[in-house]
Amino acid sequence: MTGAMTAAISCPQCGSPFSFREGARNGLCPSCGTSLAVSGESGIARFYLEERLDLPRSRAAVRKFLATSGVDGKLVETLKFEKGELCFLPYWSLKGLAVGWQWTERETVVKEEVTDENGTTRVVERRGPREQFFETVASPLDFSSPAFDTTSFGLMGIALAGSVLPLRGMDHALLTRRGTVYDPVKGADQVRGEALAAARDRSRPAGVLRIHDSVRLCSEKLALTSYPVWRFSFSAGERVYPVVVDAINGRILKARFPGAMETRLFAPMLVILLVVFSWTLHSALGAVALLAFLVWMYTSHGLSPASLAVFFFRLTRRKEDVRHG
């Protein structure tokens, strides 16, 4: 979640809407000129991104996606959509400075000139003594991480579109009327730990044998942003298929949809031909071929009238469901 997001909220002094840059602590009301500090509980500002796609447009995005994914066109036309749910999924955003130090012990390489018995000189590399280094870590930090188990939604990161959209100050009551607002599962301390681990990894040089470090967070600006997605399902035949759509850009985040139809003529035709042909050669051979088929059928599909009917008369079938995301 990088880039210049701006947050839109209203001034408590004059009621005028004002916007400020995400990651900033303060803003200035353009109407009354009052300096305003933006904060939240425990110093964590909470925002949300407004959805840009309503439910009908999200469904249209699903139809378009299915049409381009090889799903039968007739099936796409006859899809029946169930009721949809707008979900707001929380993401942490942390900006600040990572400061500290790291002590490392590294391998060194020594180059030596070696002359062989023919008088040819060449340079060889050999392992040198271990060296110790002390380095200062002081770098800006810009980190974002899902605050919710988003794997069930297929959402791995906030889309780039999010970085150019205005953030809005969180209004929990308003959002819960419009959809389901997911609370963060991951705590602020865990995000801080992840951000510092990322900063450590970035500053870690190659060839390190031992490391001892201490990196801390300064000037922390922590925000929690709720990202909108549509979750709904559609039915095709007797089956129900779930789908999750990014409510900002209409991307299909996670879906299961019917596989393409396939025609299967080869297996039943082959069985009939083999049995008939064997019978024309000799009735005993025909009986053996029929028995062999019945044994195979019994072990693989069963010998019920229904399974025999499916094998011989249901010549088209749908491939396995396709999963996306």
Partner: protein, 208 residues
């Protein structure tokens, strides 16, 4: 995890005189230009914070956190300037300050420089251990204060280690035993003179 509430918008008005507190995007401490009171935003409300101004000439007032400190290493406890001198090997003592007085760490409270340069600025002033006398200043504009006391404590360790000799810093056993204990911080401004793109402090002969 507990539910985190909605966003709060707090008007930055001086609780003493009601004037608008000037602020920039990153500020955490605000100085009222009308009554000179200093305020820090703590848990959604403005709490008073003491800001001192050190004597000297210069039109750019850079805020610094001054932290008295104690250090424990494998060589023992360092709690005086004499001990700190031995640790750094390059300490300049301020006039009038004894060897037994507690060492002080100077941590920038503003971001006038890049992060590595902030560490360098803190290191250079800490090594000088300037003797400060505080004066009353009115109608002053202090450079934006963006680091809180907790930030200064977090940044303090690396500034302190940057003053220590290279041989000690490269020693694993020294670092393993190193423990930094900062005391209560004081927020103060140091006056600098602008010279082109640089800032100069005449008394310390220091250029940032």
């Amino acid at each position: 995890m507990d539910r985190i509430g909605d966003v709060k918008v707090i008007p930055l008005l001086c609780p003493d005189c009601g004037s608008r507190l000037p602020s920039e995007e990153e500020d955490v401490i605000f100085v009222c230009l009308s009554c000179n009171a200093t305020w820090e935003l703590v848990d959604g409300s403005l709490a008073t914070r003491e800001l001192r101004h050190s004597e000297g000439s210069g039109d750019v007032l850079l805020p610094f956190w001054i932290l008295p400190f104690r250090v424990t290493t494998r060589e023992g406890v360092v709690a005086s300037r004499g001990g700190f001198r031995n640790l750094t090997g390059a300490l300049q003592s301020g006039v009038g300050d004894g060897e037994d007085s507690p060492p002080r760490l100077f941590v920038p409270a503003c971001t006038f420089l890049s992060p590595p340069q902030l560490v360098r600025a803190g290191r250079l002033i800490t090594l000088r251990q300037p003797s400060l006398s505080f004066i009353e200043r009115r109608d002053v504009r202090v450079s934006p204060i963006v680091f809180r006391e907790d930030d200064a404590r977090n940044m303090g360790e690396i500034i302190l280690l940057s003053t220590v000799t290279e041989a000690r810093k490269k020693s694993f056993t020294f670092l393993e035993s190193f423990s930094f204990h900062p005391g209560k911080a004081i927020l103060c401004t140091l006056p600098f003179t602008r010279q082109g793109a640089k800032l100069f402090h005449a008394a310390m002969n220091l250029e940032l």
